[in-house]
């Protein structure tokens, strides 16, 4: 496998260096369209005719689609293949297969995420320059729910360009004008003579033709694939235990490694009391300190490596952070809400005048959330091979082949080795949620590989290492204030959040420079409520540093700010004596798209119908990642405080839906993920270290806790938005609002409940007693 993938990578790269503009055609209208996209011209590779960077056709007619985004459960390989199939005019069936490309072509760059614009909308010299710079990196990453809206235009254009090339090849073969030809079912047809040629028989000729500059895309009315529920291409293997995740990479002569990292972030290894003994343990071939911060045991099997690592008696050097706790960080957070010097993200209208006007009815509330971690089912791992000649190859369940390469270079550098080349293979990801943008495990594996040149080294973190060495969603606190006018609606809205900057922390780990932590937009996203008609508003943030690494986590700032803001809007509605849906309806008077989503979820939930005692309903809405989602949560709170999340009704407007079943699945998963965080999750810092170690003390929802979920998608002809994350932000406030509705108690701190164990591996959520 490695050899074939390597060869293809070489071919792609080689062709790219030839420097032609394959997918110039792909680009269409905006500025991104007019520049050379650095993809390869068509070429023939064995039995494959590669028509462009996104697709190849085999002699047997099979179509192989290159999707430069990571499949981590969101179904992106299927959705992207559907886009190509639509434009290539082939049925969406098992003649299609999907691969993650190995070559790091600039055309695979995620412009949408980094420039915050759809490629087809990109215009202006700044975006042009940004696109060129990012293409040089190239910044290939899966995240920010951006894959569909970022590749919506390029993938369809790639399919359309290929179809045009096939038509041109068919015209030449048949000696007729292109205008007399049509396509269907993988054939080029000449109706007048009844002749037809299969794509597979034309592909080699087509690969030698120049790609069209601006291939026309099918109109909505002609779509046969987009918008229809299609079975996922990755599921048949997944029900047979066949897919290769990072943990499943097996290579000849491979070594296995286990690791122990400094319990306190930033800590270092002072010494090992029993190094000689561990080196003699069964199967152990090496014990190494990595970058001063961790110890790895390398052995001939992972079980031997991990068993030996469990016996390590490591002295960790004390650090200043050893006195830090969640309690002390909470004090700092809440203190920052009152401190000066906050960054102002947004200021509209005359806030103080509005507060003066509405001073008789001022609502104010303070909220707080803890650190949380991803707890991907597949723990962090990477496999790296560095050969004697300096060439390197890496395999990992990563969200980014770019950070995979950076990680190899970083780790090899610790060993004084500079790889001459790095080929990265992106495997299936066993959960990601933002965690797999990081290259920590990759760098560690690369360091070990540099010590064992010529042998692949697979490093796998134990669950305990994974739990205690995450890149966490920041803890955060916020204070929100509103002055209500005579009609009960806010005339002024003032939001202040304190959290640790995500962009500063994440980029500081991978780049030689990091953006200022102050004014990080990811700290404040979800607070502005721009779709609500409020005359004056202000959004501010404070950066509160800690020694913890902060990382991307499903929906980032929205994961806490929407809890704050949508809980608060509910508090405003109740203070005004109004129904929470009716209140939001009035606030959405200038936002018809949002209003439609709210109205629909209210109908779906039977909002307003009577519930038995002890039950409650809560609503919340958010626009994030270019999509709008509203949810109604239904809870039951028993006399002893046990809270059960019975149902979540979800309505989403994600624009045009590519694969409805995948979007629904993402909403379902987002709801379970968000509800788990809302009711159960906390990462606690004690003496500078993470206290939780495994699923017994970091409980998550299981089948018994999970709610019934009903999802409905709004029909739209607007371009697609994101789907992987927008379902998460509304869950926590919807649940908190439902608990308030059921009990009259307003809970302003996550997790909302205490998790109690009931029997083997089962839990229940119980509300804390009210402070008397």
């Amino acid at each position: 496998m490695a050899r074939i993938l390597s060869r293809r990578a070489f071919l792609f790269t080689g062709a790219a260096l030839g420097g032609t503009a394959l997918v110039a055609g792909v680009a269409g209208t905006g500025y991104l369209a007019t520049v050379d996209m650095d993809g390869p011209d068509g070429f023939v590779d064995g039995n494959r005719a590669v028509l462009n960077a996104f697709l190849a056709i085999q002699e047997d007619g099979r179509v192989v689609i290159q999707v430069p985004r990571t499949e981590m459960g969101q179904g992106i390989h299927t959705g992207m293949a559907m886009l190509v199939a639509e434009e290539l005019d082939i049925p969406f069936d098992d003649r299609i297969s999907v691969e993650h490309p190995t070559g790091l072509l600039p055309v695979y760059t995620n412009y949408a995420l980094s420039l915050r614009t759809r490629p087809e909308d990109a215009r202006g010299p700044l975006l042009w320059a940004g696109q060129r710079a990012l293409g040089l990196v190239p910044l290939i990453v899966t995240g920010g729910s951006s894959s569909t809206y970022g590749l919506w235009f390029p993938m369809r254009s790639a399919g359309a360009a290929a179809r045009h090339m096939l038509l041109a090849a068919g015209a030449a073969r048949l000696g007729v004008p292109v205008a007399e030809l049509t396509t269907s079912d993988g054939l080029v047809r000449h109706a007048a003579t009844g002749r037809a040629i299969a794509y597979g028989a034309l592909a080699r000729d087509a690969a030698r033709l120049p790609p069209p500059r601006n291939p026309a895309l099918r109109p909505v009315s002609a779509w046969r694939v987009i918008g229809t529920p299609q079975r996922r291409v990755d599921i048949p293997d997944k029900i047979r235990g066949k897919p290769v995740f990072g943990i499943d990479v097996v290579l000849p002569d491979m070594l296995h490694a286990a690791i122990r990292q400094a319990p306190v972030f930033g800590g270092t290894v002072a010494g090992v009391a029993n190094m000689a003994e561990i080196r003699r343990a069964p199967g152990v071939v090496d014990v190494a300190v990595i970058d001063g911060k961790s110890l790895a045991v390398v052995a001939s099997s992972w079980w031997q490596a991990e068993t030996a690592a469990q016996g390590l008696r490591i002295d960790w050097a004390a650090t200043e952070a050893a006195h830090v706790s969640s309690a002390s960080l909470g004090v700092a957070l809440r203190g920052a809400l009152d401190a000066g010097g906050a960054h102002v993200h947004l200021q509209q209208g005359d806030l103080s005048a509005s507060f003066a006007l509405g001073q008789e009815r001022v609502v104010s509330a303070t909220y707080e959330v803890p650190f949380v971690t991803h707890a991907c089912m597949e723990t962090m791992n990477a496999t790296v091979l560095i050969r004697q000649d300096g060439s390197a190859e890496a395999w990992s369940s990563t969200q980014s082949p770019m950070t995979l390469r950076w990680g190899v270079n970083r780790g090899a550098g610790w060993a004084g080795v500079e790889p001459t080349s790095v080929i990265g293979h992106v495997t299936m990801n066993g959960g990601a949620f933002g965690r797999r943008n990081e290259f920590d495990a990759v760098a560690q594996a690369a360091f070990l590989a540099a010590r064992h040149r010529g042998r692949p080294v697979k490093l796998l973190w134990s669950r305990e290492q994974d739990m205690t060495h995450g890149t966490y969603r920041s803890h955060a606190a916020a204070r929100l204030r509103a002055a209500l006018g005579p009609d009960g609606l806010p005339v002024a809205y003032d939001a202040m959040v304190a959290a640790q900057s995500l962009q500063n922390s994440a980029m500081g780990r991978s780049l030689p420079f990091a953006p200022s932590p102050h004014g990080d937009r990811l700290t404040a996203e979800g607070l502005d409520k721009s779709y609500y008609a409020i005359p004056s508003r202000r959004v501010r943030s404070q950066h509160v540093p800690s020694h913890l690494p902060i990382g991307f986590w499903r929906a980032n700032g929205y994961s806490f700010n929407t809890f704050f803001s949508e809980s608060f809007i509910d508090e405003c509605a109740l203070a005004a004596g109004q129904d929470p849906v009716a209140y939001r309806r009035r606030l959405l008077r200038d936002s018809p798209r949002h209003l439609a989503v709210l109205e629909r979820v209210a109908v779906l939930a039977g909002w307003g119908s009577l519930l038995p005692p002890g039950r409650g309903r809560g609503v919340a809405l958010e626009e994030s990642f270019l999509s709008i989602v509203a949810q109604v949560a239904e809870v039951t709170v028993a006399d002893d405080g046990e809270v059960t999340l019975d149902r979540v009704l979800c309505v989403a407007d994600v624009g045009i839906v590519v694969n409805p079943d995948s979007v629904a699945a993402q909403m379902e998963g987002s709801i379970v993920f968000g509800a788990t965080a809302a009711l159960m999750n906390a990462i606690t810092i004690e003496s500078g270290a993470v206290a939780e170690t495994n699923f017994h003390d970091f409980p998550v929802q299981r089948l018994a806790n999970a709610p019934e979920v009903i999802v409905e998608l709004i029909r739209s002809e607007l371009p697609p938005g994101g789907a992987g994350e927008p379902g998460t932000p509304p869950v926590a406030p919807a649940i908190a609002n439902a608990i308030a509705n059921a009990t009259g108690r307003r809970l302003r701190r996550l997790p909302l409940a205490i998790t109690e164990t009931i029997g083997e591996r089962r839990t229940r959520s119980v509300l804390a007693k009210e402070p008397s």
């Binding site: 981590m72 459960g73 969101q74 179904g75 079975r231 996922r232 990755d234 599921i235 048949p236 293997d237 997944k238 029900i239 047979r240 235990g241 066949k242 995740f245 943990i247 499943d248 097996v250 069964p282 099997s301 992972w302 079980w303 991907c376 089912m377 597949e378 723990t379 299936m428 990801n429 066993g430 959960g431 990601a432 949620f433 134990s462 669950r463 305990e464 079943d661 699945a665 379902e668 998963g669 987002s670 709801i671 379970v672 993920f673 788990t676 495994n694 699923f695 017994h696 998550v700 929802q701 299981r702 089948l703 018994a704 999970a706 709610p707 019934e708 979920v709 083997e760 591996r761 089962r762």
Partner: protein, 154 residues
Amino acid sequence: MISLTVNDTAVRVSAPPDKPLLWVLREDLGLLGPKYGCGVAQCGACRVLIDGVSTPSCVTPLAEVEGASVVTVEGLSGVEGALSAVQQAWLEEQVPQCGFCQPGFLVAVTALLDRNPNPSDAEINEAITNICRCGTYPRIRRAIHRAAAARVQG
């Protein structure tokens, strides 16, 4: 050497008797379907059938399965790879997202339906304690009921 049957094939393994079955399957027998998720019988990603009983293989020493019949996710399909009723229901409901935990669910549900062909939701909640971080639970519940119905008819 320890002898056992894995997916209907007799095997002899020369691994330490205290090596967990999970790592014997993955490292000595090349069966990568069972997954490491927690190492402490919390998550269920490693579940296999041992003489028909769903068991977390990460805490089961090799010595304990001497002479036993072990079935992994790879062994759930019938002749010529025909999907089992549980696998077919998983396909119909499009259950997996990332798919990492699903081998353990498929095994646990197979064992459940073997001993209780028509489980209630409460019985499902009691029996299926695996973890899925992608949150496929609503589909898993539907798929269990679908598989139960198919097995009754089939």
